[in-house]
Symmetry: C2
Subunit: 321 residues, 2 copies
């Protein structure tokens, strides 16, 4: 019965989904004075309202050539040019920010939006195992910073002499400068002992919280906020400072705030700590390590061209067609 | 010396970054016939070219009221309305797709773009520990599917009677229907034994590969592609089928392809397996479990309003101002 609802949902939802195609494939600038959201349309066109739907369909096809979707009938659900550009722009200009934070507080509306993005990450068995612990207190930030300094001193010793000197000069956190700190956690017991999708891969719930971190990070970049992930702590110490129970895993400790600027490249890349790897060499076909296969060459050419465009800063303007 | 380059980079990169503000805060529809990418501008305005920069600045300020950025001087790096809408649209309409795949192959250019998005995920110590193993072979897909069926049979037994019946009717994968399967992995030895940021949190490299998965998932949604994450396998068996070495961890096995439609909600939510949790109850202040603090109430009101808007499908059209 319950599953029947899904089956039924497919039927009753298919039409609204078809309508949504229109909402998703047009940027609102095609309809001046109005930004398109799915609801704007679905409110006006219910599943039964065929005439209205046809009218909108015709308006949709009248825009042929204006939106890229029409160039590819395979992907009617593709977002419009500018929205797609926004996704890639956020992905490619997101940085791990350590040192360019401005003191201005993050407005509640903006903080709410990036937390909402995090809350809509995928989660194994729909566990939603995350919590979001916001830290504003200067005293708490200082204690967390002290914990970092202690751990970072231990870390430096682990590198060989030449690298240690470089390591010790890297700025790896903005705990005190960032107006907001956020610890994203994973409650491994949230959905009981047996969870759909976690029965064999026990780490799936941890991975779900990481997806929430990445959603928040990208939304923050879109909002113009810098985010830095600090991972040089003893977990137990972080749990003590923030009163996090033993069974709750701190996944990410994030420093968040507006920034003076974003770097063109990751700082470790600019510092020649490690180079950006050639993507085409990381892609295998059918079996591990296999770099040749039918259709491999065209893909590898695209991968090299895309990476070159990213390095030149022209990916979004030249590679989305 | 090496680190000196970063310091210097700040100086020499600051101006281009300032210029980029213009590129990032205007949708290209403000300049008809041209899509704005960072390069378009930086090619034309070098760091030294102050006059050109001022001209563009004035054009920027002339657009006050046309773009949201100008309403918030705190975030000059914020993406334009439509690009920001695109990020949230991808985040909120992304689904774990199991059953709506169309057989059409994924074009190389599109596959290259979503892999490029994955490759630009954050990674601890800039490890980039990921590989991307593409599976097209029907024989291999069948072996992977067999491995899933065996594991899923074991999984069903773990649920109590009432839930087991529902569980067995859930469709949890699209391995054979999806035109493309992709295994994203983590090479834990890629950057040697000592890695910046992994010295204390040993799982950081696994988390980096998960960030790559989420970047790819969101880029795929923007491209109109459905992605489903299958996690019900014995890891060793998956490694055997795909010839993945012992020290390489398979993080995600993904089914990818164009889809007939995307569901409005996650299937487990529609099936009443688990409800969407109230976000405002997942947010704590200063200490674990603390729900009251200065500024907590306005944020909690925003969180409730945002979640309500998401449920109504009106978030992108009503909550981005």
């Amino acid at each position: 019965m319950r599953y029947g609802r899904i089956g039924k949902a497919v039927q009753t939802r298919y039409v609204p989904n078809a309508v949504k195609v229109i909402a998703q494939t047009q940027c609102h600038w095609l309809w001046p004075g109005r930004r398109l959201g799915e609801r704007n349309l679905s409110q006006k066109t219910g599943p039964q309202d065929k005439r209205t739907r046809m009218v909108r369909r015709s308006r949709f096809f009248q825009t042929r050539g204006l939106t890229m979707e029409n160039q590819n009938p395979l992907s009617p659900h593709r977002l419009c040019d500018e929205q797609r550009a926004g996704l890639y722009q956020a992905v490619l200009t997101r940085r791990d920010v350590r040192g360019q934070f401005k003191p201005d507080p993050v407005p509640a509306a903006v903080l709410s939006r990036i937390l909402t993005a995090a809350h809509h990450a995928p989660s194994v068995g729909f566990m939603q195992p995350w919590n979001f612990l916001l830290i504003n207190s200067p005293q708490l930030k200082q204690r967390v910073h002290d914990a970092f300094v202690a751990a970072n001193t231990e870390a430096a010793v682990m590198f060989d002499d030449e690298r240690r000197e470089v390591y010790q000069r890297l700025k790896l956190e903005g705990i005190l400068e960032a107006p907001l700190n956020l610890c994203i956690t994973c409650d491994r017991e949230r959905a009981g002992p047996v969870v759909v999708g976690r029965t064999h891969m026990k780490t799936m719930d941890l991975y779900s919280s990481v997806c929430a971190v990445q959603n928040l990070w990208l939304a923050a970049r879109a909002e113009g906020l810098g985010v830095g992930w600090v991972s040089i702590f003893h977990q137990r110490e972080l749990q003590t400072i923030l009163a996090i129970p033993r069974h709750i895993v701190p996944i990410a400790y994030l420093c968040i705030g507006y920034v003076s600027h974003f770097f063109d490249k990751p700082e470790l890349e600019s510092a020649n700590w490690r180079p950006r790897l050639p993507l085409d060499e990381l892609v295998y076909f059918e079996q591990w390590g296999q770099t040749s296969a039918e259709g491999a060459v065209p893909l590898q050419q695209q991968l090299r061209a895309d990476q070159e465009a990213v390095q030149q800063g022209s990916f979004v303007s030249t590679r989305l067609d």
